[in-house]
Symmetry: C2
Subunit: 124 residues, 2 copies
DNA sequence: CATCCCATGCGACATGAGTCGCATTTCTTT
DNA sequence: AAAGAAATGCGACTCATGTCGCATGGGATG
């Protein structure tokens, strides 16, 4: 299942460093989202239900870690976007994501592979 | 206001040819969306409320036409996507949309301009 | 003119996401 | 051990969107 925009923000943080507590994640997002702590927790709970993150009880706190792969997730977003918005069916241009702070060169290679795969699957 | 995915589909059709009736639009989307005619109409109604399309009563039928610009709309999607998913702040790669069946070379030029503008506005 | 069809206006329901608050449980610190 | 702080579980509300159905009204046709 594709995460929502907000969920993607949480995943990005977790991809950088995990596991983390709800409180830690909340503090990082506070400035941007202007949320109450409850909202952060609820979102995290729902992400757990959807298997986007795992929860591990460590003593009395819950630790969250990503349960979906970063490159796969980004690839899915890219493919969806290209098709839905621009109706691009062919191979997606690499240039689309070079320059992103989120992924390094290695990961860009993986991304391309995945996109190519997605494209083929969809062809059928 | 940014259209939803579904609304974008309607806009795409209207950009190709307008004005059109709900019935005509419905027939084009029937295959893809598997919707009842009521759903099509409701969506169109709501798009009118949001000023995404205009409605003109022609006799006893309503004619719909796009009320938002194609290139502007696509640019807004592209900018949002690049930032939200890949955290690209710099100029967006042109390659992102070359090859799209939706826009011709002229429009690609416009798109680039708009993206550059959006980027600058956002910098502040 | 009576009838039938299609268009419209509009109400309605379900689900998901955004957003919070509260009561209960569990640490930690005197 | 008692008290206070912090974490959790979970319910709840609102709004947008997807998705229909129904009742009403105006044209076309025999």
């Amino acid at each position: 299942m594709r995460p929502t925009s907000t969920e993607l923000e949480f995943l990005k943080l977790l991809w950088k460093e995990s596991p983390r507590t709800a409180r830690e994640l909340h503090q990082e997002l506070e400035g941007i989202l202007q949320w109450g702590y409850s909202s952060t927790r609820k979102t995290l709970d729902r992400m757990a239900e959807k298997a986007l993150v795992t929860v591990t009880k460590e003593g009395n706190v819950n630790l969250f870690a990503p349960q979906v792969d970063k490159v796969k997730t980004l690839a899915s977003f890219a493919a969806d976007f290209a098709k839905r918005v621009f109706e691009l069916d062919g191979p997606l241009p690499t240039a689309m994501f070079t320059g992103s702070k989120l992924i390094d060169d290695d990961e860009i290679d993986q991304l391309e592979h995945l996109l190519e795969q997605l494209r083929k699957e969809q062809e059928q």
